[in-house]
């Protein structure tokens, strides 16, 4: 079918819905491959940062500083300023829409501590994270969806995007597969927003949902748009051992501590000021170091998260969901026992490059592609630089989702439709039919599993040239095998085997770009730690990676663009200590 809307938004998580509700006078379609309330925003737990100062003195500039420093200075500083300033108003907007924040005794939004968020430029932890128990993302997603229902936003549920349509140097729509019927549809639009989230399923141990397959990144990448800073991938310190399910940093924000196999609260030794509330890249590396030093529990590859000293009442009030996860998946009672944890693949700092209005920019000169927008984890603004602070993902969604919506409102008023390219569904039909007709005998599940093992093994917290070269060869081999993927399921109705096979293609693209960026970046910065280049190198590497797709995995072309700094000595890059 052919549909025509002013705006097409792909993805119904926090960023997509925030944008959708900024467009009251436009025709808007939100396309999602799940139901909107299943989006992975709903899994975010701990909080959303904003310098409201409800609990103690706080300022947006302190939040900006923490964001820049937390990102190991790979952050575009004007974007971080927008993030920190507009977070305040965006959180109030969420409250006005009904979000049930926890409250202070005087009825204001309660705030708690979170990793890397400090008072007065690093003096000590500050209460900045606004929260709703340990289901803040769930409440943001529910509140956004409620507002969308109120505003009568048009949803296309269980549609998988296959392609971005461009003509005449502008974006003009998308093509999507309706999962329930197997039909392919064209959505013609003046403006397209990708809000499709991350690609955490490229790793085996992951906090990410099965939906987090890098859809938007890959679809843009295949159309010649670069991916920025893909080597900057965050491994959250506290995933449930072996399962990867997240145990929120809120546990440490409320006073929880990491414990090694010798019964030592080891973070005090590494980071004397912030201790367990140091940024995630640092805490994850400390855990890996403890394990390498033989301080894992019983000599194994995990340590403990200990919240026993918080007491049953506080745990029940502030951390009910994550204690439930520990009970359910490990059979561990956090009130009386420490919880086994390990770093888990969590968040892409990189993604589709955008400016601060969420417009996609396609080269090192910041040239926008008119009509094309990206926001949320799929995008790289870049506010998270080399390492995102806890709670800043939700801030990113609401601030830049809102800016995307507002800018699209202006764009569609000033611009007409661009005509569609010839035969707009050709690429998508070929993609689907090739999978249906292939007799190559390869299993998508086997390829995905091999990719995840390789990414866990060689593209994890610590990396090296040798390992990354091997990983790239592995991915190249898996891409070759991917061309021979054969489906068992030839049905057209609700064919989830087809969906998974298409998504595997997305993940392989994202893995390829990640490894290329990581191989080239011969320094250690934020989440990217090279055993063979353990120091940060501002003289050569204070710049963003742009990876452009080539024919094959080895043919990726890398370009670089400068990090945008502002003229203020406080934000000048310096060594990161906590």
């Amino acid at each position: 079918m052919y549909y025509k809307f002013d705006v097409v938004i792909v993805g119904a998580g926090g960023a997509g819905l925030m944008a959708a509700t900024q467009l009251p006078n436009a025709s808007v379609a939100v396309i999602t491959k799940v139901y909107p309330t299943r989006s992975h925003t709903g899994a975010a737990q701990g909080g959303v940062a904003a310098a409201l100062g409800n609990q103690e003195e706080d300022h947006w500039k302190w939040h900006m500083y923490d964001t820049v420093k937390g990102g190991d200075y790979l952050v575009d500083q004007p974007a971080a300023e927008i993030l920190a300033r507009e977070a305040i108003d965006a959180v109030y907007e969420l409250e006005h829409r009904g979000l049930p924040f926890n409250r202070t005794p005087d009825g204001r939004i309660d705030q708690r501590r979170f990793g890397g968020h400090t008072r007065n430029y690093g003096e000590g932890p500050v209460r900045r994270a606004c929260y709703a128990a340990d289901r803040t993302g769930h409440m943001i997603l529910q509140t956004m969806y409620q507002t969308s229902v109120k505003n009568q936003v048009r949803f296309f549920n269980e549609y998988l995007m296959l392609d971005l349509l461009m003509n005449d140097g502008q974006a003009c729509g998308i093509v999507a597969l309706e999962i329930r019927t197997g039909e392919i549809h064209t959505f013609h639009a003046k403006a397209v927003l990708f809000a499709t989230g991350g690609y955490g399923r490229a790793w085996r141990v992951t906090s990410n949902a099965f939906a987090c397959m890098g859809d938007g990144m890959s679809v843009a990448y295949r159309r010649g748009i670069p991916l920025e800073d893909m080597e900057m991938y965050q491994f959250h310190p506290t995933g449930i051992y072996k399962v990867g399910v997240l145990l929120s940093e809120a546990a440490r924000g409320e006073g929880g501590k990491l414990l090694n196999g010798k019964g030592e609260y080891f973070m005090e030794r590494y980071m004397p000021t912030l201790k367990d509330l140091a940024p995630r890249d640092i805490v994850s590396r400390c855990i890996i170091q403890e394990i390498k030093d033989g301080n894992g529990v019983d000599g194994k590859d995990y340590v403990y998260l200990d919240v026993r000293h918080l007491g049953a009442a506080k745990i029940a009030e502030k951390l009910p969901d994550i204690t439930d996860f520990a009970r359910n998946y490990l059979g561990v009672e956090p009130i009386t026992e420490p919880v086994p944890i390990q770093p888990t693949a969590h968040y892409a700092m990189g993604g589709v490059p955008t400016d601060t209005d969420a417009r996609v920019v396609i080269d090192e000169q910041w040239t926008p592609l008119p009509g094309f927008y990206a926001a949320g984890e799929v995008a790289c603004v870049s506010v998270h630089g080399a390492n995102r602070l806890g709670t800043n993902s939700l801030v990113d969604l609401i601030v830049f989702g809102r800016r995307a919506g507002k800018h699209m409102a202006k764009f569609i008023a000033e611009n007409d439709y661009v005509v569609l390219p010839n035969d707009p569904e050709a690429y998508s039909r070929a993609l689907v039919e090739r999978l249906y007709s292939s007799k190559g005998g390869e299993s998508a599940a086997n390829i995905r599993s091999a990719m995840q093992n390789e990414m866990d093994d060689k593209v994890f917290v610590e990396r090296s040239e040798n390992g990354l070269h091997k990983a790239l060869d592995t991915i190249a081999g898996l891409q070759a095998a991917y061309t021979n993927v054969q489906l068992q399921d030839k049905g057209r109705h609700f064919n989830t085997e087809l969906v998974e096979a298409i998504e595997l293609g997305f993940l392989l693209d994202c893995s390829e770009a990640t490894i290329h960026g990581a191989l080239a970046r011969q320094e250690s910065r934020g989440a990217h730690f090279r055993l063979d280049f353990p120091k940060r190198d501002d003289a050569n590497w204070l710049k963003h990676t742009l990876a452009f797709k080539g024919e094959r995995a080895h043919d990726v072309r890398l370009e670089y663009k400068d990090v945008i700094l502002i003229d203020d000595p406080i934000f000048k890059p310096k060594e990161r200590k906590y």
């Binding site: 799940v34 139901y35 309330t37 299943r38 989006s39 992975h40 709903g42 899994a43 409201l52 959180v91 109030y92 409250e95 006005h96 829409r97 009904g98 049930p100 924040f101 926890n102 409250r103 202070t104 005794p105 005087d106 009825g107 204001r108 939004i109 709703a132 289901r135 769930h138 409440m139 529910q142 409620q146 507002t147 229902v149 109120k150 329930r180 949902a209 099965f210 939906a211 399962v243 399910v245 969901d321 439930d324 996860f325 359910n328 998946y329 490990l330 059979g331 299993s443 599940a445 599993s449 489906l487 068992q488 399921d489 049905g491 057209r492 109705h493 609700f494 064919n495 989830t496 085997e497």
Partner: protein, 235 residues
């Protein structure tokens, strides 16, 4: 452990009626039932069809009928189901394929109770104030993930598909008792109608089914008492 998994299968393209498929899988006692389903799909039968996303009980995709009770497949562990488990699609919804059901009517009912904050006052420059006690009154309902397990477990909906069902009432409750909301009376009048709260017979299946531990029946009773007495405690 070795487990026999019986799954009610149906593919509208091939099958004139549902049938039982059986699979034997090796599983770890702490594997999720969802892991076993994935194992079947990825290594035995790629046509097995079910929904899943977050895999840890917060997105609500994989609600299904497991040994006769509605559960999320990602919250049930193999050690809890034993050596034989029977899985069916949720009752009360049309089956699309295998374990996938049509949720459109479920979301339409949700939308019918105005599940969003309605407040006619001008927005203040900062947050609206609300005490911790006022917030606690509607806390339970905010945990709802709209998985459908409660509504589909209710015998009243099996008998009458027009009934609004427990999930919609929980989400109405969440706003009726929110001190910031001004449309409680509108929602109460919707729920006082023929297909509203009165078709609830306090069977408690919904409370048992809820994967989020929401006391669903209690919340429905509070709405009933408010309609009759204008007071959730019914004094």
């Amino acid at each position: 452990m070795n487990v026999l998994i019986r799954i009610k299968r149906y593919d509208p393209d091939r099958d004139s009626k549902p049938y039982w498929g059986e699979f034997r899988v090796e599983a770890d006692p702490i594997d999720r039932l969802l892991d076993a389903l994935n194992n079947i799909k990825w290594t035995m039968d790629g046509t097995l069809t079910y929904r899943r996303s977050c895999a840890h009980g917060v997105c609500g995709s994989d609600a299904m009928r497991i040994n006769g009770r509605n559960r999320l497949a990602c919250k049930v562990l193999m050690r809890d189901v034993g050596n034989k488990v029977t899985i069916e699609p949720m009752l009360g919804f049309p089956v699309i394929r295998d374990l996938v059901v049509d949720m459109d009517s479920f979301f339409d009912k949700y939308k019918s109770v105005k599940p969003y904050l309605i407040n006619y006052d001008n927005e203040p420059g900062t947050e609206r104030l609300q005490s911790a006690e006022e917030r606690a009154i509607f806390d339970e309902g905010t945990k709802c993930i709209l998985c459908g397990a409660c509504t589909s477990s209710c015998p009243s909906i099996w008998g009458n598909s027009d009934w609004v069902g427990p999930a919609a009432i929980v989400n109405a409750h969440r706003f009726i008792f929110d001190s910031r909301d001004q449309a409680g009376a509108e929602r109460l009048s919707i729920l006082a109608k023929r297909e509203g709260v009165w078709r609830c017979r306090t069977i408690f299946n919904c409370t048992d089914a809820c994967p989020r531990g929401i006391p669903v029946t209690d919340l429905i009773e509070q709405v009933k008492r408010t309609i009759v007495y204008n007071d959730p405690k019914g004094v």
